[in-house]
Symmetry: D3
Subunit: 205 residues, 6 copies
């Protein structure tokens, strides 16, 4: 618990705030929310600020992470690294510092590639991705930017690269979920934890 309190900046007045909204007092956080936060801290060694920022609203916290896990942790034809690619590409488009930095770290780790996150965040069109992944990102970026123009031709383009309709749903849903997530992080000024910047940058083999 002490570690988490330190995360909250309670002991370090010089630390910039984690969000425009102060994180909640521990006493106000329901047990299931607190356990989820403690679990992520145990696993990662720190608590990503989005957990602290959203804990202020337990119902929204629960729905947010339930949705996140339903899309990012479920089985399917998209690898976990590919899902993170979608997150980083669409978050770059939306100028979301938190999501690019945090999910960039996860992408580097899941793809075992220290370069891919910065490439995809700045310009997905010139990244070291396969043609299949490029088609996936094209679809995701269209959903993020001009979803009202999505039509049958977009699904056919995915299908030519072996994506099923269920894969297309996954791509669209991840892009849509982070359309929400980017706006929350931007509007609430959620700050990426310093830890994310360096994660997964060690050179391959």
């Amino acid at each position: 618990m002490v570690a988490w309190r330190a995360q909250l900046g309670g002991d370090d007045v010089s630390q910039p705030p984690i969000s425009r909204y102060s994180p909640p007092d521990l006493a106000d956080v329901p047990k299931d929310v607190r356990e989820r936060i403690e679990a992520v801290q145990e696993k990662s060694g720190f608590v990503p600020n989005v957990f602290l920022a959203l804990a202020r609203r337990p119902d929204e916290f629960r729905a947010f992470f339930a949705y996140h896990d339903a899309l990012m942790e479920k089985p399917g034809n998209l690898s976990k690294a590919e899902r993170e690619m979608i997150v980083v590409a669409t978050s770059g488009l939306n100028n979301c510092q938190y999501c690019v930095v945090a999910h960039g770290a996860i992408l580097r780790i899941r793809a075992k590639n220290p370069l891919i996150a910065d490439q995809v965040a700045v310009n997905p069109l010139k990244s070291d991705v396969t043609p299949r992944q490029r088609a996936m990102l094209d679809f995701a970026l269209k959903v993020a930017q001009r979803s009202h123009e999505v039509d049958a031709a977009d699904y056919e383009a995915l299908s030519r690269h072996g994506f099923t309709d269920d894969d297309a749903w996954d791509i669209a849903a991840i892009a849509a979920f982070f359309a929400m997530s980017n706006r929350l992080a931007n509007a609430f000024a959620i700050r990426p934890n310093d830890e994310f910047y360096i994660m997964g940058r060690e050179r391959r083999g």
Copy 2:
């Protein structure tokens, strides 16, 4: 149950599909999801197509509606009509037919105003809203469109109209949630039910 099947178009081959994705077979829908659908049918007299479209993915269905209810049904300083105004204004910006038509109906009913939904959908800046509601919509539209530019001045503008920081969170979160919802409905081509178009259009006493 029969009524719902009919909703699904099972008996009327001429009915356009409710979405690019076929709704699930009843047998595949978990009990809690089915009960939620039956409850809305009982209350509204029909099943809004977004329930049928998302039922295909129970985990996402549950998270989506949990999130929706946490934002749209919770107590707070924003009236339910005002929350629907945010939905209609941002959904108009995103050219989301389903959300404009369905939430336009709800807005008309909650605001007891047969004109407001079409006004807000086409041009929120020229709608019959109060200056306070106009400030609310300005913030929501900025979150929808340029969330990376949201800053302290935007919160101050809200505060000048009496909105608390918690109200600001509500406005931003609703705009963000429908940023997701609009993209899902657009990408999956979810069709608004015919019923929505006429609801709440009766002239005020």
Copy 3:
């Protein structure tokens, strides 16, 4: 005459103004303009506000409606409903509340379809239109938005759906006329009459 005065809101101080510019006194309106207004009132049961707003400038009134009728009432291969589709689609793009609401009503009536206007106003790409109508709307929207990029390929696309060069002129001219009309209605804040919102919404037999 009394009916028209009532339209002007003279007796109802709570009625919002029909435009930023007050409508003219009857005494100042030339006979031909007044007769045109009375004719439309007789036919429709009310005077659409654009007639009152423009009556302030009789020469512009005459030219505006002469142009309007030359495009919207002339014989040709485009049905009257199709012409209104063009109006509603391009007016939606230009966020023109007056034109979307007023011509949306006319479209519903001419197309005998209570759904089509809202569909086309929000997202023409997902509306219940034929492929031929979709090609018509694609051309109209390009004229409305990026007319400097119109080229031979656009005319060929129309031709593949059976549109002649004269039909193409009609489509372009309607889109161009409402590019003007939308800007007038927006700049002058012309308010759609309440009557329009409900017209043509009765369900098809």
Copy 4:
């Protein structure tokens, strides 16, 4: 009559076409339209191509020029040079070659200034205009580009430079009329007459 025929390119096969649509045969042009064309030829020494292009549709021709004259030739506080400034600035924004070149010539002549047209066409914000004219152009450009955002503050800005509400109507109506005109010229590929390019370029005394 012979002079006009020559204008039509009948004798010079190498001349590029005046528009995507061939100009009408003289025999098909109603007398009033022909007389208008002959009058402009007499006055200017040539027939501007927009007259020939629109003559194909006499009703539209009549309405177009009636509207044009109602806005550009009427008395009022805007000088004729200022009206042409509005035309050139908004036509530059819309990338309308015909309108920039033809009305640029008229602007140079009316303003007795050989530089002003090119300045205004490329960047009105850096042109040799007075602060009052700059306010006029700011309003016109907003009507051309984002008319749905025009509000009371825009009228107040004009008022601070001495513009009345009637002047504001003139500015908005000219910007709106050329929003139409630019789209017609662009969609129909109306070619500016060679004569316009050089007119009014002689250095001021």
Copy 5:
């Protein structure tokens, strides 16, 4: 020397300034920079204002003109007129008054065509250019506007019109150099010399 002083407006207080930044005193200008300025004056009969504006920073002056000459004066498959077309088209896109007016003059002279500069500045898509030149301009405009989307297909499109990879480099480099130049002229408010407006406008034999 006297002539240059006069260019600087030293004797004519009514002349608008050549830039937001005053041109340097002759005493402060290094010999090589002064000689370059005197050479252009001798050749052209006047000193284009960009030379005076940049002379304030000799190192930047030298690098700017060295770069300019490396791209615009070098041998290659693009004619000098075609290089100027690229300049005028991309400068029109960037609303750069100085570059459109000054390079428009050079384009008219090099192309021996009094119409081409105004055409290309306002709408390159409707200019009197060959299909090969159109492909060249399409590529240049994409580099100017959306360079991050340039890909192999763009090079192939050039290749179909006979452009080599070295020609493509030239086109891209000219568009990129004027992306810089337009921003400098705009930010520093460099005024086009009056002389440019009329140059090259005489009708072809």
Copy 6:
């Protein structure tokens, strides 16, 4: 020399190309260009790919780096870290992978701050910069994006933060130079060296 050849990927066929254009053979590179390249290699331990890519055109190489050094290495009130901030912010806007990654590394080193580059690249508005630096970035981003709208008010905003007119020139010129540089790197697909990604990421003491 051997080290440089290795940089060129001559010995490692699996290395992705450094650019769409092959780097030149050493035999074709003039002595001064080669010496510049060897100097940077000695200093940095590797040759940034932009040196190799541009070496193909020695005159352009010389002008490019002379310009670069005149802006980035000169004395002045902007610190070297601040100049790099301008580069990273405007290159992020232009989606230039090479410039964001390479200059991001230099920024981290010069600012002795491992977080600042990613922050500025994704969203300068939410970065750990001082209000003075924020004003600097606002001006730079306006020059990069809408230079034709730069006016006296922009210079006054800088002045309120203590920037002189010469500082304003520096900011504008750096933004303009990288407007060019971003387009070259994007059009030629210059690949950031792997080394840049990790440089300067060590945590501050």
